[in-house]
């Protein structure tokens, strides 16, 4: 029988999929293993952390490592709750402003016509290639010149513009039919109402995706705390967790268990957010192409 072409995105399991499964499964397992490992490690009691030969699986799970983590922060002078507060404040501020600014800019660049619009769009597209670590020094100088060193602002403002987020949202706004906007306009709606009442409800998947991307940038960002802030009371959870995982503490076995717990605390919110919103992400990515 002649080749008929197979079906992408099949509805049910077929025999032909077995060889694909066999090819992919080892890689999937290999990828997931380190993450399973850190989960096990975070819940290992002292005698299992010390066990020789080392064991992968935790037999007597305990919360000791998490308790030690809290204790360690108490003795360091700044309570863990302060770092948590800083991280929450900074993350919320960045995600919230970034979403408002990106969606507004996306609406403008996609649906409103004015001089310079295309240039701006091209600059943002070029900025997709922006590698933040490449310009950490001039960025530091800019923050310094603006007098933001040692403030929350230094950890919030530089992280708000995220070219990928704007790009993805703009691609999604492009899908909104112009006729909807024109109809609203004829009914007397102002641009701000069109943005709020027509555009925003229709681009929820893109907003969710942008939220994930921005969240990932901020939540684990350490650069800002490291370079722009000297006052420990203003630094973030990510920064604190990293000082725990630095060379001195990971050399002790107890330090390793504590660091594993810290890593898990940093990782879980990311994972949870992505799991909840993953459908929206795939929907947005369908329009991600650069033309």
């Amino acid at each position: 029988m002649a080749y008929k072409g197979h079906k992408i995105n099949p509805n049910k399991f077929e025999v032909g999929q077995i060889k694909i499964l066999l090819a992919v499964l080892p890689l999937v397992i290999l990828t997931g293993l380190p993450i399973v490992f850190i989960v096990f490690h975070a819940f290992k009691p002292m005698q299992e952390l010390f066990a020789f030969p080392p064991k992968f699986i935790t037999t007597h799970p305990t919360l000791d490592n998490f308790r030690n983590l809290f204790k360690a922060s108490r003795s360091a002078g700044i309570p863990l709750s302060k770092y948590v507060f800083n991280s929450l404040l900074i993350t919320l501020a960045v995600v919230f402003s970034s979403l408002i600014f990106s969606t507004a800019a996306a609406y403008s660049l996609s649906k409103l016509k004015y001089k310079g619009r295309n240039t701006m769009m091209q600059i943002n597209q070029l900025a997709l290639m922006f590698v933040p670590v490449a310009v950490m020094i001039p960025r530091y100088l800019v923050v310094n010149v603006l007098g933001m060193t040692n403030t929350y602002w230094a950890q919030i403002l530089p992280l708000i513009p995220l070219p990928v987020a704007l790009f993805l949202v703009k691609q999604f706004v492009d899908q909104v039919p112009d006729s909807l906007i024109e109809a609203a306009y004829m009914d007397g709606a102002k641009e701000i109402h069109i943005y709020l009442k027509v555009i925003l409800p229709l681009i929820k998947p893109a907003i969710a995706t942008a939220a994930i991307l921005v969240f990932q940038q901020v939540w684990t960002n350490m650069e800002a705390s490291n370079y722009y802030v000297n006052d420990d009371g203003l630094k973030t959870l990510a920064f604190y967790m990293n000082t725990l995982t630095s060379a001195t503490t990971t050399n002790t076995v107890a330090g390793q268990g504590m660091s594993a717990a810290a890593s898990l605390i940093m990782f879980i919110p990311n994972l949870a957010l992505f799991c909840i919103l993953q459908k929206n992400v795939m929907n947005t990515m369908a329009h991600s192409g650069i033309k």
Binding site: Y3, G5, H6, I8, P10, N11, K12, Q17, L21, A23, V24, V28, T31, P34, I35, I38, F52, P53, F101, S102, A105, Y107, S108, L109, K113, Y114, K115, M120, N124, A127, L128, F130, V131, V133, V135, M136, I137, P138, V142, P158, I160, P161, Y185, M186, Y195, A247, T250, Q256, A262, S263, F267, N270, L271, F274, V281, A286, S288, G289, I290, K291
Partner: protein, 301 residues
């Protein structure tokens, strides 16, 4: 005013467009555009972060090419190796995995995609400790213990200090965490290819899944392929920092020194910011070269 002229005026020139784009544009200009331009300007100066920068022309670039042995001997070759394997190799792997997943039913596909994507959420600091534990240099280390168990090695290897293993380890971690946004974009692209194209191609003589991938799937999702390529290369360079988190900066014997670590070394450890800026410009140019190649491959001509 008549309806059509009202819309007509809205379409031709709409000043409120500036208002909507303004907040983003201002922050973009201050924190992305200015630093990039500043890097270019500073790269032509001698600047120690205390005195005012002094113009030195192309001296930094000349030194980089002729006098910086570390750069020529270690940093550049390491970076090229890393970029080819993690950037290009990771991209090919992302495509193959996405394609394979697209051929599976929804539930296993979603679960697998989530597992493959999750390491990219751990970039930077979140999981550094994980690798430190696995690659611990004595017999209590997980990898050492396991390899000794199955008889591959007889005595523990000091992984994170050994110059032979450091770069491969960094590359491995880079690959592990490279199934990010680009991978998701490719997966979405493949899932959205028009089914009828496959039927038509089969009639036109396409014989197997491999030919389908080459002649139908890839051409029909070029824009996604381009987006993914840019994301992949940017992600690869951004992750380069892991080397200094694992082994300190400079890395032992410069074995895993990548260009981002070199920038950090000169900028924040030696305070030779003009020189560091020149290295930054080189990095931005390398990224630019990679994305130009991607545009040649996948751009709509």
């Amino acid at each position: 005013m008549s309806k059509s002229s009202k819309i007509g005026r809205r379409e031709r020139s709409n000043k409120s467009g500036y208002l909507f784009v303004l907040p983003y544009a201002v922050l973009f200009t201050i924190f992305i555009l200015t630093p990039v331009l500043l890097a270019v300007v500073l790269s032509f100066t001698n600047f120690n972060a205390i005195q005012f920068p002094r113009l030195v022309g192309f001296l930094n670039y000349i030194n980089l090419i002729t006098a910086d042995e570390t750069f020529m001997q270690f940093v550049l070759p390491n970076t090229v190796k890393y970029a080819l394997i993690v950037g290009v190799g990771g991209y090919v792997l992302a495509f193959l995995l996405a394609w394979a997943l697209a051929n599976l039913p929804k539930v296993p596909r979603t679960v697998f995609a989530l597992i493959l994507y999750s390491p990219s959420m751990t970039t930077g600091i979140a999981m550094t400790v994980l690798w430190k534990i696995i690659f611990t240099g004595d017999q209590t280390g997980y990898l050492n213990s396991w390899l000794m168990d199955i008889g591959v090695i007889n005595e523990p290897v000091i992984w994170l200090v050994n110059t032979n293993y450091l770069l491969p380890i960094v590359i491995l971690i880079g690959l592990w965490s490279s199934m990010g946004v680009g991978f998701l974009a490719i997966l979405a692209g493949i899932l959205n290819t028009d089914e009828s194209l496959y039927e038509a191609a089969a009639i036109d003589g396409v014989k197997n899944r491999f030919q389908e991938m080459l002649y139908v799937t890839i051409p029909s999702m070029k824009p996604q392929m381009l987006f993914a390529a840019v994301m992949q290369i940017v992600g690869a360079f951004q992750n380069g920092q892991i080397a200094s988190l694992l082994a300190g900066n400079p890395t032992p014997g410069y074995a895993a020194q990548l260009i981002v670590n070199h920038i950090e070394d000169y900028g924040f450890i030696r305070y030779e910011m003009g020189y560091a800026a020149a290295v930054s410009v080189v990095l931005l140019l390398i990224v630019q070269i990679f994305s130009t190649i991607s545009k040649r491959l996948f751009g709509e001509d």
